[in-house]
Symmetry: C2
Subunit: 239 residues, 2 copies
């Protein structure tokens, strides 16, 4: 009877944790969309709202951490149950980082004040954001549903994001070389694109957490990754 | 007697956790120094070693997480003791991120293959790195010694790092505008400088963790911060 009581109490704690992570995930997804929206439409007010809303995500991470730790201390869960709690902690850490990256994009809206905004570049960034946001959504769904195959689809899908990012970087480099007046605008877009790419990396981290929760071990395969730190080698003007 | 036993076991667990965090901190410090060393001397082999060594830091984070969680579950520590464990978890998360940022710098060594390497820019980056590395060292010492005033010195000192980073960005921008052939080199240095700046941010996160461990609450003040996302506004050619 005492055992059953503990189990029920644990289940209720875990449910609450999962709910909090879902709430945090919803906020993070909205921040991604809003930040890039603010950037592409140069909506300074929306950019400022994204910056301000980040503290809500930070606060949720603290709450999740506190609840997770108290649940471990009170219920002393073992094995699979413990992994559920550790999973919530890890996902919350990734969502907090996603929030930071979106906030950084939001901050840059102010800086994009010149008139040079080629539609092609904006579309490239939007396309990348759509892809990353759907990765984040898919992996949060996989986390909530304990759906390992769905998480692995996200894990393998990050390569496409990296490829788009590399191609966007090359285009930005071309614009910068064509006209020095484009440089500072293009640098801001590069940092934004890099942030979006990093958000994609956090989606794959969450996929690895789902693997750990279900399989009880860390994933060992190396993720397919279109490395882009060498983008400049292939860029015009650098040969 | 049983209580004493638990306390001793907890103390021994905590000691081991603290030792692991110190080991991880030592590795992270070395990665910061080595990555920038590899970059400024264009030492491709050292860059590759930095990239390879990151998995050691990642592995330590997993070990710390596992030990921390098991300690909470087994010893059921309360209040101040629980904060010690949560503190170790948080510091390990920041050190893992620092490792990632150093790894990213290591990756870029390969890309810096042209002949344009103004000493002034390299010195600027080295100066920034020295400062950030000493911040990381100081805050890890403060963490180990539970020295809140020392942690607060680090917390307040990040402003200087941000200022150097902003000034370095402006110089890089000037070089890019002067000659398009400098662009890809300068972009790599910008990303490296940004990574160093972010490492500094993680040092202040650790200072906040020391505050939390000692004071039992989150720090509420806003950290003084030389915001640099608007660096381009002040740059030549953008007016």
């Amino acid at each position: 009877m005492a055992f059953e009581h503990t189990t029920k109490a644990f289940d209720s704690d875990l449910q609450e944790l999962t709910r909090l992570v879902a709430e945090m995930g919803g906020l993070a997804e909205r921040q991604i969309v809003d930040s890039v929206d603010a950037l592409t439409r140069r909506d300074v007010a929306l950019g400022a709202r994204v910056v301000a809303a980040d503290s809500e995500i930070d606060q949720l991470q603290r709450v999740i951490e506190e609840r997770a730790v108290l649940t471990i201390a009170r219920r002393q869960p073992m094995a699979v149950d413990l992994r559920e709690i550790v999973g919530a902690l890890r996902v919350a850490t990734d969502l907090e980082r996603i929030g930071d990256l979106a906030k950084n994009i939001g901050k840059r809206v102010n800086a994009l004040d010149n008139d040079f905004h080629p539609l092609k570049l904006i579309r490239g960034l939007e396309h990348m954001t759509d892809l990353v946001q759907s990765q984040v959504k898919a992996v949060l769904d996989a986390y909530a549903a304990h759906d390992l195959p769905a998480a692995m689809v996200v894990w393998n899908g990050d390569e496409e994001v990296d490829a788009i990012c590399t191609s966007l970087f090359r285009e930005l480099l071309t614009y910068m070389m064509e006209d020095p007046r484009n440089i500072s605008f293009c640098i801001h877009l590069m940092f934004c694109a890099k942030n979006i790419e990093r958000i994609g990396d956090h989606a794959t981290n969450i996929a690895e957490t789902v693997f750990y929760m279900i399989e009880g071990q860390q994933i060992l395969d190396k993720r397919p990754k279109g490395d882009m730190t060498n983008f400049a080698d292939a860029a015009p003007g650098n040969t």
